[in-house]
């Protein structure tokens, strides 16, 4: 990572020592952690690493990442006002799973409970989603499934388990796609990461059923600083599903995950996320995939919740003939800013990509599409198509489109199109004249608008998403 090195140099942190343990090490980690201190320091990082019994290289990696985080300025773009309001000293950077159970069901806000009801979420799952129980016990249900995966040589663990059980694979790929110096929040995650998924699919293996974060046992899969690494070896196929349509309630205000996907020659990865954080949360996520020759990576990304989301799933097409596809929807309601988008970097010839982005703004919400398409010199014969559609439900809402296209190669075709509109009166008129109420008509139009997204989701997710949109739209129209 030449860029990473350069940035390290410029920040004057190239010569970071490896004496962190001596400088900051604590020997009575357990006691310390019962206090679960707020704020970020080398001591906290050392503590996290020791508590998890991590190898030396990971401890050092965390410390270096923290220095990068401290040296890097806050991003100067996006919603800088909200970004600058984050108080890093007021955050618990690591909470042990057992301590999460401290909250009681009564503390969960009424509207969240109501949404669970309406979506028909099972009791056990509700408590997990609301952060009342530490985990959603799924071991029994998925036991036979896991046995199946194991026989095929598929590794599917939480990230901490992956590091413990398969250190050689983790060390080879970890942070190769997103180095800590990539951005301030990737550095933060690198320093304090915990939980997330680790998946390795051996060459030629086709994982028939989608892997879901739920399958994992003993996972802190709704962690604040998740770290996910998926490696699809040559010619393999995998579909991973993260998150769910139900609102995830958390008192933690900052969530900053890093997701790295590596699709080796001819492999296929699809990563589906539907994120529905409660409206107090800053969701600042770095997601990036490497697609080697002939590989395909698809991001299917839905952003419904949170106060501010800044998330731009990215595909680096580094091998000839690689393909990237990013399909996203964003729904911004009252007080929300969804700053989402997509990035595709064409670094090899004959690569192709397609970005489809749909956004809905309502009740004063703001949805922004921020994208990048970059084609490097010599990456000839590439094809890119970008389509952004925005729907404004009322006059108080806002929609922005900030696409960027940087083309340095010849024989490439790049197309970008964006449309911003409201629900057409003629369509409403037609539907109401067929006997639908105005609310029903609007909902039908909205469902049609996001249909290219929902049709890519597994059935049960699509149904849930439609129900959720219905819920979100209630009373906001007409």
């Amino acid at each position: 990572m030449v860029v990473g090195e350069l940035q390290n140099k410029n920040l004057g942190i190239a010569s970071i020592g490896d004496d962190y343990a001596a400088q900051y090490g604590f020997h009575d980690a357990e006691d310390y952690f019962h206090k679960s201190p707020k704020g970020l320091s080398h001591e906290v990082v050392e503590m996290i690493s020791r508590l998890k019994n991590e190898p030396e290289w990971m401890t050092k990696f965390r410390h270096e990442a923290l220095d990068i985080f401290l040296a890097k300025p806050m991003p100067q773009w996006g919603n800088t006002e909200l970004l600058n309001s984050i108080d890093f000293s007021d955050i618990h950077y690591y909470v042990r799973p057992t301590e999460k159970q401290g909250r009681s069901w009564d503390e969960v806000p009424e509207n969240i409970k109501k949404t669970f009801d309406r979506l028909g979420i099972p009791e056990a799952e509700r408590k997990f989603l609301a952060g009342v129980s530490a985990q959603y016990e799924s071991e029994v249900v998925y036991h036979s499934l896991k046995e199946d995966l194991r026989k095929q040589g598929i590794i599917f663990l939480d990230m901490d388990g992956g590091l413990r059980e398969h250190p050689e694979i983790v060390r080879k790929y970890f942070s190769t796609v997103i180095p800590p110096s990539d951005n301030k929040f990737a550095a933060l995650n690198s320093a304090v990461w915990s939980g997330g998924s680790f998946i390795y699919v051996p060459p030629g293996v086709d994982v028939k059923i989608p892997l879901q974060a739920y399958f994992r046992i003993n996972a802190e899969n709704m962690g604040q600083f998740e770290r996910t690494l998926i490696i699809a070896d040559k010619g393999s196929r995998v579909h991973y599903i993260e998150g769910c349509t139900a609102p995830v309630y958390s008192t933690n205000s900052l969530h900053s995950a890093v997701v790295e996907l590596i699709a080796l020659e001819g492999a296929y990865i699809r990563y589906t996320t539907i994120q529905n954080w409660s409206h107090n949360i800053f969701n600042l996520v770095t997601k990036r995939a490497m697609a080697h020759a002939g590989a395909t990576v698809e991001w299917v990304d839905g952003n419904l919740g949170s106060r501010l989301t800044m998330k731009y799933p990215c595909v680096y097409l580094v091998g000839e003939g690689a393909r990237g596809e990013i399909l996203s929807i964003a729904l911004a309601g009252d007080g929300q800013h969804q700053d989402a988008g997509a990035k595709v970097i064409h670094a090899a010839p004959r690569t192709s990509s397609r970005i489809t982005s749909k956004s809905i703004s309502k009740a004063g919400g703001r949805a922004s599409y921020r994208g990048l398409v970059k084609i490097y010199p010599h990456a000839h014969d590439c094809r890119v198509s970008v389509e952004c559609d925005a729907l404004l439900i009322d006059g108080a809402s806002r929609s922005d489109t900030y696409p960027t296209m940087e083309i340095d190669a010849e024989r490439v075709r790049v197309e970008h199109e964006a449309r911003v509109s409201k629900i057409a009166e003629e369509q409403l008129f037609y539907l109401t004249s067929r006997g639908l109420t105005e609310d029903e008509a609007r909902l039908l139009i909205i469902n049609g608008f996001i249909e290219p997204f929902t049709k890519e989701l597994p059935m049960e997710y699509a149904v849930e998403l439609n129900r959720l949109i219905e819920l979100e739209m209630e009373g906001s129209v007409g």
Binding site: Q76, S399, P403, M405, I407, E410
Partner: protein, 440 residues
């Protein structure tokens, strides 16, 4: 990693003379003009160089447009009007007026005799500031003033030659006003101010032409146009400066209610061109169209920005910007459409197409939308691509030479935009493009 470069005002050898006091008022200089300049000087020294993180400056190094010895410029006398009667010379009968800003800051402005009794003012700007101060004072800097940005503040402080066009209410001029601008030397700082009254119509052709063969010849230019209620304005900017020129132009057109604006930008010259063109739709029912054709070759660097700002209801805007690139040329196009909350029922369209004629060219396109209102219809589109080899193959199989084939594809690329311009202006643009096609 040019983003890591130091862009503080003191970076490199281009030291901005932050401590320089502004000069004293010159003998014939009106008080309002002096304070306008002084304010510009203050803002210029206060403001840092534009940050490179914003899209507006992401692709151009602002230091390219910094003038080295600005204290010398400050002390230049106001430009004079060499041929002050102007009626001694005959001009092309197809023009309503002919004006020329010379490199030595002298000027000629001639108005066709039949238009002289209509109350039209067509003259050198700093001269009008002395003879008709109220006209200039009312409009100067209202759209692009000292607060606009560092380079615009610099312009406000030290501009010394320019042009002024004033059309009173209810006057329709069907022939164009032509102004030739002739920058030369290390720095030329110039302004154009156009005021068109209620129900009036005029066409302004603003032509930039110079030899500019010495490195670092900078033109800092500001254009402000005001169209009153139900007025129509055609503004045509032709940029064909010499190969070493660096151009920083900021243009704004304000449209009052029911006013119609058509702005055309033809850009072929210069080494580095940073052109910021925008129309503010201030009055209800205003309509704006911006058409651009840019053609860069060798190692030219173009950076065009367009801005449509809908501030009133029922306004309409359309942008069609075509870019062609040859050899090692680079182009950045950024366009923003912003529709304000209290501006319902607007329509806004934006289209940017880039044709890359060979390998080694570089094009960026950032068409942006900021929509704060749901009663809108808004689309934008951008494409980039090479000359399609299949099309070439087809044309070759029909007996065209390679050159003819490319030329007919270029024709198909630019003609839809040219056809939206008036015929005589389209001809000028067409000639510049085809001439450039033939070169090299």
């Amino acid at each position: 990693m040019n983003k890591q470069t130091d862009f503080s005002p003191t970076a490199g050898n281009l030291v901005v003379s932050a401590k320089t006091e502004f000069r004293d008022r010159q003998a014939n200089e009106p008080e309002w003009l002096y304070s306008f300049r002084k304010e510009g000087w203050m803002r210029y020294n206060e403001m840092p160089l534009p940050g490179r993180v914003t899209n507006l400056w992401r692709y151009s190094d602002p230091r390219l447009f910094l003038v080295k010895s600005d204290s010398d410029l400050m002390n230049l006398p106001l430009g004079d009007d060499r041929n002050e009667r102007g009626d001694a010379e005959e001009i092309d009968p197809e023009l309503a007026g002919y004006g020329r800003n010379f490199a030595d800051r002298s000027s000629i402005f001639i108005l066709q005799p039949q238009y002289r009794r209509l109350g039209i003012v067509f003259s050198e700007l700093s001269r009008v500031a002395l003879t008709n101060p109220h006209l200039v004072d009312e409009y100067l800097g209202r759209l692009v003033g000292a607060d606009f940005g560092k380079f615009e503040a610099f312009n406000a402080a030290v501009w010394n030659v320019g042009a002024f066009v004033f059309i009173p209410d209810n006057v329709i001029i069907d022939k164009p006003f032509y102004i030739l601008r002739h920058p030369a030397g290390p720095a030329t700082v110039t302004r154009l101010l156009v005021v068109i009254g209620k129900n009036s119509e005029a066409t302004i052709i603003d032509d930039y032409n110079c030899h500019c063969r010495h490195e670092g010849e900078i033109l800092n230019n500001v254009v402000e146009l005001f169209a009153g209620p139900n007025a129509a304005v055609n503004y045509v900017q032709v940029q064909r400066l010499g190969p070493e020129a660096r151009i920083h132009t900021t243009e704004r057109l304000a449209l009052d209610s029911e006013a119609r604006g058509r702005s055309i930008f033809v850009s072929v010259g210069g080494h580095a061109a940073k052109i910021n063109a925008g129309t503010v739709l201030q009055g209800k029912g205003a309509e704006s169209r911006i058409y651009g054709i840019a053609f860069a070759d060798s190692d030219q660097k173009f950076d065009h920005h367009t801005y449509h700002h809908h501030r009133a209801p029922n306004t309409y805007s359309d942008i069609d910007f075509k870019v062609m690139l040859k050899q090692k040329a680079a182009s950045a196009y950024t366009g923003l459409i912003r529709i304000e909350r209290d501006a319902p029922n607007c329509e806004a369209y934006q289209e940017n197409r880039n044709l890359l004629l060979n390998e080694g060219t570089k094009a960026e396109s950032i068409p942006e939308l900021e929509i704060l209102n749901d009663q809108v219809r808004c689309t934008h589109g951008a494409t980039m691509g090479p000359v399609d080899p299949e099309m070439i193959f087809y044309l070759r199989s029909r007996g065209y030479s390679e050159r003819q084939a490319v030329s007919s594809i270029v024709h198909g690329f630019v003609e839809p935009t040219l056809s939206k311009m008036q015929a005589n202006i389209a001809n000028v643009a067409r000639e510049l493009i085809y001439h450039k096609m033939q070169e090299g």
